[in-house]
């Protein structure tokens, strides 16, 4: 696939030159500088985009990261940070003239503070490892992306990742206290603190979700929460997707914020049921999974109220998981939805738009129409509580043109999300994948403001350049190909 042209005009230093410079900082085996050894880093979770990096650097101390940053700054070599490489938007896609900085050696849990309920972590600690390490204290780390076995806390911060429980417990940005960040000048900066707030601007919020464009995260302090005493899950079937969506709204209208509130459409239900035999109703047009957690008394109160709402909303079937095993089974289908869909199609492309929930009916109908028009099947899983939609577009990469078609359909879905008042990405980030759609969501002045913010941290544009925020030039080109609703958003920019 064609990747966006890198418009860095300075002649790139050679691989040998950079390798020599980095080997002054790192042991030889921590600098990978031949095609064979750098190939495992050619892509992240968005495998349709691949590119070999110039060099891979594998530091294991913060001091080394500082020196690598200074070295890259002096040589004017771009630097792309990488955690586990599970990102779904090509954020960790390497640059052929750049260093890929892998943080996988930073796997230490530096400190667990039970009294303050915090943990201080190196950036390469896996998300699930945090909760495992504090489980004996009856604590856990709340954000739980489905990739939690593999993805790192550094990557979670860089993407502001969410999970199945973020309606109630928040995203990464709500669950961290302090970051240590290495700037492109090789300076170590502490952002946030061990208290609930910090002096100055909220740089903690700014860094979260900045996709490796502002600094390298080398330490994270997370908040830990007490494990809920009790959790119960209800599964309801609906013969109509809109009815299901309304029921979700009505649960919230009753003043209940469930621990998890998810929805799947029939294609996703069937794929998941085939794969993990979760006990799903394969005849249903949609199922809603609603988990209530808290003290047993709270959960009992809420279960009663949710059942009533779902019944009134016209569900065709209602099941309360009878025990922990069945609760896990109900969730297993949802958690395995992506790989399950992977079994029914050679390839799939996962989208990540967020919409106001009340527009779900419209959006699903339009997605159906796009599916029909393109001939590509689309399955929908939905973080229904917070309006985050994951349409999975099924395609076959071996059929000429199908990937491009899938991307085109995906782009249209994202633009549809913007049109109904939503956003092109709820939790997977822009990366390289949605860079064109950024031109639809933001105007030239807003994008220019983003570039100015980047400049405040990285004037040489060396940290993960050309990701997340498109140049105006790029938007002008995209606009020329793709005039949005009959009028370009960039009328004043020269076309090239």
């Amino acid at each position: 696939m064609a990747t966006p042209a890198d418009d860095l005009s300075t002649p790139a230093p050679s691989r040998d030159m950079v390798a020599v410079a980095l080997r002054r900082i790192l042991p030889d085996e921590s600098v990978l500088a031949d095609d064979e050894s750098v190939r495992p880093y050619e892509c992240d979770g968005l495998s349709a985009y691949r590119r070999l990096p110039l060099i891979v650097a594998l530091p294991n101390t913060v001091e080394q990261v500082c020196e690598i940053a200074r070295c890259c700054r002096d040589l004017k070599v771009p630097l792309v940070a990488r955690g586990a490489g599970t990102g779904l938007s090509g954020g960790a896609l390497p640059l052929e003239n750049g260093v890929l900085l892998s943080l996988t050696k930073f796997t230490r849990i530096l400190d667990i503070d039970p009294a303050n309920r915090t943990a201080r972590l190196q950036p390469g600690v896996r998300n699930l490892a945090i909760s495992e390490a504090v489980s004996h204290l009856d604590l856990y780390y709340a954000p739980d992306p489905s990739s939690q076995i593999a993805c790192t806390i550094g990557g979670n911060v860089a993407e502001n990742s969410g999970g199945l429980h973020c309606l109630k417990y928040g995203l990464t940005v709500h669950n961290i206290l302090e970051l240590k960040v290495v700037t492109i000048d090789g300076e170590l900066v502490t952002i946030g603190g061990q208290a609930l707030d910090a002096a100055g601007y909220d740089l903690l919020a700014l860094m979260t979700g900045s996709e490796g464009l502002l600094g390298i995260i080398v330490e994270v302090t997370v908040k830990l929460l007490p494990k809920p005493e009790c959790a119960k899950v209800i599964m309801a079937s609906f013969d109509d997707v809109e009815k299901a969506a309304d029921a979700v709204g009505n649960i919230i209208a009753r003043g209940i914020i469930p621990g998890g509130l998810e929805m799947m459409d029939n294609k996703a239900i069937r794929a998941a049921e085939d794969y993990v035999h979760a006990g799903y109703d394969t005849e249903a047009a949609a199922i809603v999974l609603c988990e209530l957690d808290g003290t047993p008394e709270e959960v009992d109160d809420d279960i009663r109220r949710v059942e009533e709402v779902l019944q009134r909303g016209g569900c065709t079937d209602l099941q309360l998981a009878r025990d922990e095993a069945q609760r896990m089974a109900f969730w297993s289908g949802r958690k395995a939805a992506f790989p399950a869909v992977g079994r029914i199609s050679p390839d799939y492309y996962c989208m990540d738009g967020t919409i106001p929930r009340k527009r779900l009916g419209t959006v699903l109908n339009r997605i159906d129409a796009l599916s029909e028009e393109s001939g590509l099947r689309i399955a929908n899983v939905f973080h229904a509580g917070d309006g985050n939609l994951h349409p999975l577009i099924l395609y076959d990469g071996n059929k000429p043109g199908e990937l491009e078609l899938a991307e085109e359909v995906g782009g249209k879905i994202l633009e549809l999300c913007v049109e109904v008042g939503g956003t092109i990405t709820g939790e997977h980030g822009v990366g390289i994948e949605k860079i064109n759609q950024m031109c639809v969501q933001f105007n030239a002045q807003e994008l220019t403001q983003f570039h100015a913010v980047k400049e405040a941290f990285d004037p040489g544009r060396l940290l993960n350049p050309d990701k997340a925020v498109p140049t105006l030039h790029r938007c002008a080109e995209f606009g020329a190909m793709h005039v949005h609703k009959g009028n370009s958003k960039f009328p004043n920019i020269e076309r090239f």
């Binding site: 208290a195 910090a198 100055g200 919020a205 914020i257 309006g387 939790e427 941290f457």
Partner: protein
């Protein structure tokens, strides 16, 4: 939807006027002092500048209870928003203090103030989903949105929270709102501060429906919020003496009308890691936020108070009183200060918005 929009305040869209006023000032490079109703004039460093009145930009633009999202213009009175939400069984879960009947939403967000529920539900910044601003070039820009999850572009709307107007004029703000708890009770325990801090943190490690804590005069107050049966079970579990008229207690605490705050000298806001034992500082102290927030009436030297705060992982603000021309906020490390200066320049290149309100030079 329309029936939800009767906020009581007059609706006036002054975005164009505010942007034009900024553009004019940019050309003249005159500093502006941004105000809503100026109820927080006491907070931050002293600013010289021509007043830009943002209170004229009023009205709830969008509110849909089932979406849990409210968008309002920055000049909308906080009281109006709270009333509208209450009519729909919802609330701003960060329980912002108003510090004055006329306080606006914009001023509240610019100061980043949160009330008693903060450690248990989140801070003002946690509930901001999007903002429309005027930057220092006089451009009207939108960041974030009206949906719960949004990672497109840098999070500049959250960056505005607590920036004291230094990075832009807030026009419209979208907030996540939450249902009001069905049931609420407060209990009191006679405990020393030392014991109270330990107790609050022990409870915070258990899944209890605690929604506010305060320790003053050797009494620990704990508010429980949630479903009827959930709160009742927690009451049985914790014990303590039930406090009547508790909502008035929490209100006066939030608004600094509690007798503790009747005091003319300097008031310090010391924010520390929650389980930090009582600070060895002279003066009277009231503790909130599960131990994370210590209000201190003290004439001790700023350096002494700041050193104690920093040693406990936090920072100290001269919240009221004292010298408003000096360092009011905790000094930043040189590298962090450089980032602040660069960011200020990125959003406000001519330095016209509230110059020096936070730090000298930003």
């Amino acid at each position: 939807m329309a029936e939800h929009l009767q906020a009581g305040s007059t609706d006036h869209d002054a975005a164009a006027e505010l942007a034009a006023a900024v553009s004019e000032t940019v050309a003249a490079r005159r500093p502006l002092r941004l105000i809503g109703r100026d109820t927080k004039a006491f907070y931050g460093r002293h600013v010289e500048g021509q007043v830009l009145d943002c209170a004229c930009h009023t009205g709830v633009v969008n509110y849909e209870p089932t979406e849990l999202v409210l968008t309002a213009r920055a000049g909308t009175p906080l009281r109006d928003i709270e009333r509208l939400l209450a009519d729909n069984g919802q609330a701003l879960a960060f329980e912002p203090p108003a510090f004055g009947d006329t306080a606006t939403l914009g001023g509240t967000i610019a100061c980043g103030f949160s009330g008693p529920r903060r450690p248990y539900a989140g801070a003002a910044r946690d509930f901001v989903l999007g903002a429309r601003i005027v930057n220092g070039r006089g451009e009207v820009l939108s960041f974030g949105g009206q949906v719960m999850k949004n990672v497109a572009g840098y999070d500049l709307s959250r960056l505005m929270v607590g920036a004291l107007g230094g990075l832009g004029v807030l026009l419209d703000i979208s907030l996540k709102v939450l249902p009001r708890p069905l049931c609420e009770h407060t209990v009191m325990f006679p405990l020393t501060q030392h014991e109270a801090i330990a107790r609050m943190n022990e409870w915070a490690g258990r899944p209890l429906p605690v929604s506010a804590t305060c320790c003053t005069d050797d009494r620990l107050y704990v508010r429980l919020s949630g479903s009827e049966n959930g709160v009742r079970a927690a009451l049985r579990d914790l014990g303590g003496e039930v406090v009547s008229d508790a909502s008035e207690f929490w209100r006066t605490l939030r608004e600094h009308q509690h007798p503790f705050f009747q005091h003319a000298g300097p008031l310090w806001r010391v924010s520390v890691a929650q389980a930090t034992p009582p600070l060895a500082l002279p003066g009277d102290c009231l503790i909130e936020w599960g131990g994370g927030l210590r209000w201190l009436k003290s004439d001790a030297a700023a350096a002494v108070i700041r050193a104690a705060a920093a040693a406990a992982g936090g920072h100290a603000t001269l919240f009221r009183g004292g010298d408003r021309g000096g360092e009011v906020f905790h000094p930043l490390s040189p590298a962090l200060f450089a980032l602040h200066r660069n960011l200020k320049r990125a959003l406000d290149p001519e330095g016209i918005f509230n110059p020096g309100r936070m730090y000298d030079g930003v």
